[in-house]
């Protein structure tokens, strides 16, 4: 079972910080224009969301596992709801590797696997090195083609 790159915690933490800033601003706007809240309310909201978000990011990193098995991609994740997903290679429609702005800053990338399913429709493996993401994409692509093509017409 592979774990994610440790630096993915930074990506998630930055995302959590962004959310916390937005929440803080919203609370600030509310206290400014609608209801008079204590002066420290926006800061408190920011702090709570930041701590919770960073905590979740750390826990999420500890739980996340993935594995390329013989015939399927296997993922394990989720802090509160533990989710294990099996994505058979035959079902892979296409594979992307992608890099968001924060991921580019810290030098990471993700691989996204698409199936035709209605809810597991996009399965994402975050926290890979750019080369690792490209390798995984290539590998999944080859495996998908092989699974699809085994002596088929």
């Amino acid at each position: 079972m592979n774990r994610l790159h440790p630096r993915v915690r930074v990506v998630w933490a930055v995302q959590a910080a962004t959310t916390a800033v937005v929440v803080g601003l919203v609370v600030f706007a509310v206290s400014r224009f609608a209801i008079a809240l204590p002066v420290w309310a926006p800061v408190a909201a920011f702090a709570v969301f930041l701590v919770a978000g960073v905590g979740l990011a750390l826990l999420r990193y500890r739980v996340w596992r993935y594995e390329v098995r013989d015939d399927a991609l296997y993922l394990e994740r989720g802090v509160f709801t533990r989710v294990r997903t099996v994505v058979p290679f035959v079902r892979i429609q296409h594979v992307d590797s992608s890099r968001g702005p924060v991921e580019r800053l810290v030098g990471l990338a993700s691989t996204v696997v698409y199936t035709a399913g209605s809810r597991g429709a996009d399965v994402m493996v975050p926290g890979l090195t750019p080369d690792g993401a490209d390798d995984l994409r290539e590998r999944l692509k080859r495996l998908a083609i092989r699974a699809e093509g085994e002596d088929a017409v």
Binding site: R91, T115, S118, E148
Partner: protein
Amino acid sequence: MSRTLSSLSPAYRVVERGGSIVFTALILFSGASAAFGPAGGLVGVVLVGLALLALIAYEVAYFRRFEYDLGADTLDIRSGVISRRNREIPIRRVQNVDISRNVVQRFLGIAAVDFETAGGSETEASLRFVDFEEAKRLQREIGRLKRGVEGSEEGEPEPPADELFALTSRELALVGALSFDVRIPGLLFVLVSGSLPAVSSVVPTGSGTAIVALGLVAVALVVLLVSWVAGATAAVLNYYGFRLTQVEDELQYERGLLRRYDGSIPLDKVQTLTVVDDPLKRYFGFASLRIETAGYAPGSGESGSEAAVPLARRDRVFGLANRIESFGTPDFHRPPKRVRRRYAVRYLLALGALTVLLYGVEAVTAGALPWPPYAPVPLALLAPVAAHFKWRHRGYWLGERHFVTRNGFLRRRVKVVPYYRIQTVIDSRTIFQRRWNVATVTADTAGSLSLVGSDAAAVDVADADADDLRATLATRLRESLAARRGWTDAAAAEAPVPGDDNDDPVDGADDSEADDTNHGAA
């Protein structure tokens, strides 16, 4: 050869859309003329006239610029007045062809045709409107082209239509009678009892409890009657003249009293079958059947394109389902008995939360509630019973070629998923489920009705079983897909349907069943 829409279609579309324009304009401009005097009204009339002219011009242009062409391999549609769009849909990828006509359209002899493929979140192509005969021809032709029949479209004998199911008028009456939605009276009850204080202030104070009680009973009866009549009317309008036939390897259905639906479903695109019943239907031994394909956009499921047998005797429903997917008679494994305690606890918690909420409301509104805030507490006695029933009606079964799940007491769904239709297998355990050592294993398919969380799921199975189930489902998917696509030796003996696409990721491939392959081994 390109074809155009029916020549009646621009006129119909103008009336359809113009009506709403005039209506909104009337409301807007009656306000304007009140503000600006008669001059304002005059300006309004001129503006509406211009808008109508523009609409007519647009609809005529739309009609003149709309062309479609059913070729041997693709359906080409060239359309658009301002931005043009040329769309080609490979005929093999068309999942459903649906025709619908409302009363006016039936009188005019025109119909709306929708083509659905598995991709995308909306209907891929729709013709608004063509002659009904032309609509039927398109539906027939697409079915024929998909079967790979060569030759001219004219003069060929119609393939025999095999009637699978027709709703007799007695059954239609039963559909109406049993379409009682248990949720409606509950909802109405809450609404009505919320307005009780208002009512009781109208009733003279000295009239005594007997009259009030009588009034309550009367209100309850009316509520029941109204919701029953509403359900019955909707069901009868929807399912009047329901017929399901099989033409070669395609299912065709028609139904509807005011708006008539006419659709086709290729058998090899069927993703899941769902048998639905509720306590009332179970008591009388009835059930209904839904057939899901990957074609429909989320949310359009209830709107009419979905094929379903509204009501039939249980054995008949299972017989029909078995004819479409032969899964046999399921023998369900129930979740471990300990989950009953979990459900009871859950109900009690919900009840507790409700009571706390009521106390809160009571405190805020200073006693405006019609009943005391502890009124729901006696319901706690029902929690173990409800938990038991919830547990009883839950289960899963691994068949020879199908995964079957059962969930729900008030609205029980038995879902049948062929192994080769499974897309991904998802095992999820919430923080509460982990406390009880149970898990939910979901077999995700490409059927899009499943979006609302009604995927085939084995809910609350024991941890170890969930691990097994996850592995088994993935293995059986691979084996049964291999057998179906002729990758194994056993299936290789059977000739695949010529020209069928073996690489289709969504609908599997041909329909040659490899009956003799031993993929039942765990």
